[in-house]
Symmetry: C2
Subunit: 378 residues, 2 copies
């Protein structure tokens, strides 16, 4: 699993054109993030979101590298089955360029709490299995053909196999949690799992509905994306046997980071190119996925523009020229910029949630992970 | 939920023609099963499988009626969601004529062990949620249009909704188990869930492969069907805090009943009519599902007949006349009869596994449930 290469693929930054109408200029760089070994002096107060265009995941990767090897070993061992198609299909996705963002969060939060045991490895693997199961089912639901620059499992092996291997990984995640033996962790991750599914169904019923409100959209992404980020962080406090307050803070960190992460993804879908993102640009547009950029542009649009968005989300505007027009509306209305602004807001809240924890390498890495999540869009 | 009506629909018996070549005649009726209140004197030794053509689920239904009301209340309460599509879609299937076979087994086994608490209600609901999630995904995988005489959820709401609501129910099942708080139950049902998914993938890779061996087929149905029957029974012993041996016996009862149940289903698919079964007759045939009747007929067939089966399972023989020819081969080769014979074998083993438990109404009901499962085919 060539993790490093993939992470570097992901941090190839790109820039929004400054000449696009209504595009706000970000604050100048406040620091140039080092590749690793962030000095302990670097605390949240030095960093406002958007200040670190070169923010990277490297500090977090360095922090958890040894742990992540353990997690990868668990993942590899526990995705095995006598039914050969299972490791074949699961391995395609699991080895295929994911950043291991969620398990890394579990590991980094455990470090933040100075936890010195081994329980986090099995649980981080469970988190990744839940995430992978979700991705497999998402690609079936969306009919996606490309993820992280590779053909999706549903294209290679068909929808039935993707559905069933997803089910297997989901069940296997619970087996891992049972082996760990904490009912509290089981409660957190089973709750997160039903919230994720609820969010996915909610998104499905919102599909092509251009009049979806920002509140509803936040509900959707809080469930489908942020709930697992929150749970991944929270369980570290359980393993470290910390008080409820630590759980709550880490939950808030993960939840806000997850929302920021998703909003940036939504923006990137209109501002990226396929080579950079490893997925087709404009996928959301062509799928009629009503994301925050569209919600804002629709709300601010003229009657004519609203007509365009209605047609587009209904599937009647799938040409490249339509996507270009959509992107130009998203820029001129400030919808794309304000989506990023919203993302920065949640990113800042994530960082502030870390306030109660002592400064140090782990905290710095968690903070820079937020900055990295935001910086992907610039 | 009109359970009674549906159960009665299911026990409308039908007969294999006695004049079909190679059809063995069943032993004559040894007793005429009463509608309920089986006398305690009725023990396994009085009943050999196949002896009870009028066997019914009624004794089990009577035994657990009050408990089942509790379970149905839990099911109804816990399939709710603010996302309206979830209870709508889940309710279609959950209220739509299922026998509640698996939760009834949990309840009846708890009675067998004289358990007098309430924990079995929540756990029986969890078992039914796992089963329902599996059915939703199965129908997507098979592209089924009809189940229990009604249009399937995937036809009404589409595959994406069925996949995601299945995920929701699966996660909700684990939430229910966590609320119960037994790690042992969680271990049993998470293991069963991954085995089920493994069996489903195994079946998928065996699809259209007419040379599938009987052993492999038994592996498949042991996983995809019998594992949940076994777990549903086994958890009753955990709740009742019985020794490991009780768990093992109930597990064996459920597992063998599950295998018998599936083999009978396989036979019925070739011998039933759509009105009786609530699914299209010959579905397995048209889907290229290699079940035991086909495996036996292929193994016993002439070269010409094997050619027919190869073509048929590959999808090249989907006409009504082909199905009629298939059924005639299944009868003339004794494949259908011997599938039923195999089912009786597992049914007998299920009954024998109850040996260590004291005679009484619960044991009699569990025995008659096996006879009912078999009698569906006659």
């Amino acid at each position: 699993m060539d993790l490093d290469r993939n992470v570097h693929d992901h941090i190839r930054l790109f820039h929004l054109p400054n000449d696009a109408a209504g595009v706000s200029i970000l604050p100048p760089l406040a620091f140039a993030g080092g590749r690793a070994h962030i000095a302990p002096a670097m605390t949240a107060s030095l960093h406002t979101i958007g200040a670190a265009r070169t923010a990277s995941l490297d500090p977090m990767i360095q922090l958890v590298a040894a742990d992540l090897n353990h997690v990868n070993a668990v993942i590899l061992a526990r995705m095995q089955s006598e039914v050969a198609l299972i490791p074949e299909l699961a391995g395609h996705l699991i080895a295929g360029g994911g950043k291991r963002m969620r398990p890394m969060l579990t590991l980094a939060c455990a470090r933040l709490l100075d936890y010195s045991g081994m329980r986090q490895h099995r649980l981080a693997a469970a988190v990744e299995f839940i995430h992978t199961a979700t991705l497999l089912h998402d690609d079936v639901v969306d009919g996606s053909g490309l993820r992280r620059g590779r053909r999706t499992a549903n294209i290679i092996w068909g929808n039935p196999a993707s559905v069933l291997v997803g089910d297997f990984l989901f069940a296997r995640a619970f087996e891992l949690m049972v082996e760990d033996g904490s009912l509290k962790v089981l409660r957190i991750l089973s709750r997160a799992s039903s919230i994720i599914a609820e969010g996915e169904v909610n998104q499905l019923t919102a599909q092509r509905r251009v009049e979806t409100s920002e509140d509803r959209y936040l509900d959707i992404i809080s469930a489908k994306t942020a709930a697992l980020f929150a749970a991944a962080c929270r369980i570290a406090a359980v393993v470290a046997e910390r008080e409820e307050a630590a759980e709550t803070h880490l939950d808030a960190y993960g939840r806000n980071l997850g929302i920021a992460f998703q909003l940036i993804d939504d923006a990137i879908d209109y501002a990226s190119d396929a080579a950079t993102m490893g997925k087709g640009v404009g996928d959301d547009f062509r799928d009629g996925k009503v994301t925050l950029p569209v919600i804002l542009a629709y709300a601010r649009g003229t009657e004519e523009e609203r007509g365009f968005w209605r047609q587009a989300m209904a599937g009647g505007r799938a040409e490249d020229a339509d996507l270009a027009h959509a992107t130009s509306l998203l820029r001129s209305s400030g919808a794309l910029d304000d989506t990023l602004e919203r993302a920065r807001h949640y990113g800042q809240r994530a960082i502030d949630a870390l306030g109660p924890f002592p400064a140090g390498g782990a905290k710095a890495a968690l903070i820079e992970a937020v900055e990295f999540a935001i910086a992907r869009a610039y």
